[in-house]
Symmetry: C2
């Protein structure tokens, strides 16, 4: 574990938890308003996850963990006799809020397992146990290691002169707004920024505009140069030679290294491979899913047609009567991923073999 | 020239010209309003082209031709003594309205040449000559041939059972709203629809939403089944096996077969090649530019950052202070294009060799 990583920071803090109340920055209202939702139950937290008020694979794991802590506090104060049944129901509800990111069910199952394995505690003791485990899910240390490892890997690959600037492209938001710390992909960007001037091309990331609304806001706030790209312009920008690397996060990485991430990621990987540009996935090991053998086994969430058709509240451009298909994620085949950067180490192809050493418990 | 093509039609008519007045359907206001702009000069027509009130490579050629006819009528009635100078100035202004589509400068130069080559005519006779040549630029017959040739080529490639439906994906709008007839890419769709049930996936095509606003409207109006896709979802949809072909138009095709088209096209071609799906470009020979040797020589229009940042009048999602990069076109390398379908014939790789036989005057 690197010690220099502690210098990386962000001013963006999208969540707080205290005494049974989870405060979540409502990302639907960024960048215009910074409003926090108060969640005091599993149901409220699950709805915040489902409605994209909070999003990003690591952060929805953290939110679910503290949502379960809030649920434990709520049940403790109202009907402690129902504690076990209520906690299980809350865990089920949270785990089912969205299907693709494995961090979500992973965080919930981790807490459920700890509680089950210590059956002799009182409801108060078990509530404290849930809160302690939720704190452990928040993975700031891991993120700092990912940032350092990713930046080092790219620096070695690039071999640029000191002080030369580097331009990287990212998709969606895998930053402080997606995690409990400095971000995964944007953590690597922050790691690079500590070494040389960095310019970021941010895909706007239709239909929810995570790039335009969240990544641009987060990077501007931290003083990192950012230019938006319509998603359609990314491949040509990569082909033009203007991009030194594409860095993205992940929602689930299968045992063979296939990567599920925000839809549009696969197209970026194709453009990188066609033009010899490194394609890097940055993700904590909690995103690795050894139980899923390949990308074909990852459930891909289909979201509502309305989220495509309504650009902003009340703003539509498509004619009445048309429908839209909106897979929220896509799968990038393992062979197109030049590096999977985790807090434990970096996997390069063949990921089928090299990823095994990074798996939890390997 | 096929005769069966005459059965293909559309109810969409985006332009009319009569007696010095060019009526252009204002495509910025579709699908909500069907409003026609009246252009009675080269300046008004150039502004309609620049502002995207009228767009689509073949149609802006037609609009420029009739804009020049309107200019000729205007000068004839006001200051016939200045006819030659005024017509040249109008031609310059129209040709400079947008840089990428070669049909625009091609149509203007064609008329300019005819006028220069017949210097002994009176201003009235020359005005009639301009109008006659503009009629010739309107290429409905060519479009019907493209539709038939494209549909036949795909049918031969697919070898589907009679009556089986086919799903194709298109980008931007290369339809009746982009041409003087049934469209190029959507002409091929109409040709296929005459043979079997066809379902169209239409990329919404950020930032101007030509797919969501124009292609969806045009196809719904003509009774063709259409589903919108966020642009980011196209590659994964192609990889999923749901798409039998991608069919697009072109703004300029270089001598070696490199294709400039709406930005996002290159990424589609990469996804097609990676997944063995035919990638077809449909364009009249007026889009071929033998004077441009390769895609590197095609000027790529950069449009205003504002067109990305403002989703609809008054609607923005990105934070204040961020800028955007908006190349309006990209270049797809020749080798990724499985077929270039023109009214004269179909070129398959190597286009460097096969395209020569389709060049005007070859």
């Amino acid at each position: 574990v690197s010690t220099t990583s502690s210098s990386l920071s962000t001013s963006v803090v999208p969540w707080r938890y205290a005494a049974g109340r989870l405060h979540l920055l409502d990302q639907r209202r960024l960048p215009n308003e910074e409003v926090f939702l108060d969640c005091e139950s599993a149901a409220q937290t699950a709805e915040a996850i489902r409605s994209l008020a909070v999003r990003g694979a690591p952060l929805i794991g953290v939110a679910a963990a503290f949502g379960l802590a809030a649920e434990a506090r709520r049940v403790l104060s109202r009907s402690p006799g129902d504690f076990d049944v209520a906690l299980e129901a809350g865990a089920d509800r949270l785990a089912a809020a969205r299907p693709t990111a494995v961090n979500l069910s992973g965080a919930v199952e981790r807490i459920r397992r700890v509680v089950r394995e210590t059956p002799l505690l009182t409801p108060l003791e078990r509530t404290l146990l849930v809160e302690k485990e939720a704190e452990a899910v928040a993975e700031e240390d891991r993120l700092a290691c990912i940032a350092e490892r990713g930046a080092s890997w790219l620096e070695a690959r690039w071999n640029l002169p000191p002080g030369a600037s580097a331009t990287v492209l990212t998709h969606c938001n895998a930053g402080a707004l997606a995690t409990a710390g400095i971000g995964t992909a944007l953590g690597v960007v922050r790691g690079l920024s500590a070494r040389r001037p960095v310019v970021v091309f941010a895909d706007e990331t239709r239909p929810f505009f995570q790039g335009a609304r969240l990544t641009a806001w987060e990077l501007l706030r931290d003083g990192v140069a950012v230019t938006l790209l319509p998603d359609v312009a990314a491949a040509w920008t990569i082909a033009s030679g203007a991009v030194a690397a594409v860095i993205v996060g992940a929602d689930r990485i299968a045992r063979n290294g296939d990567v599920a991430n925000k839809v549009g990621t696969y197209g970026l990987a194709l453009a990188c491979r066609a033009n010899g540009v490194p394609f890097v996935v940055a993700a904590p090991t909690s995103t690795l899913d050894p139980l899923t053998l390949s990308g074909a086994d990852i459930p891909i969430e289909r979201r509502s047609s309305e989220e495509v058709l309504e650009l902003a509240p009340g703003v539509r451009v498509a004619p009445a009567g048309v429908t839209a298909l909106y897979p929220a994620f896509d799968v990038t085949p393992s062979a197109l991923v030049d590096a999977i950067v985790t807090e434990v180490g970096v996997s390069v192809p063949p990921h089928e073999i090299n990823l095994r050493e990074l798996l939890p418990g390997a």
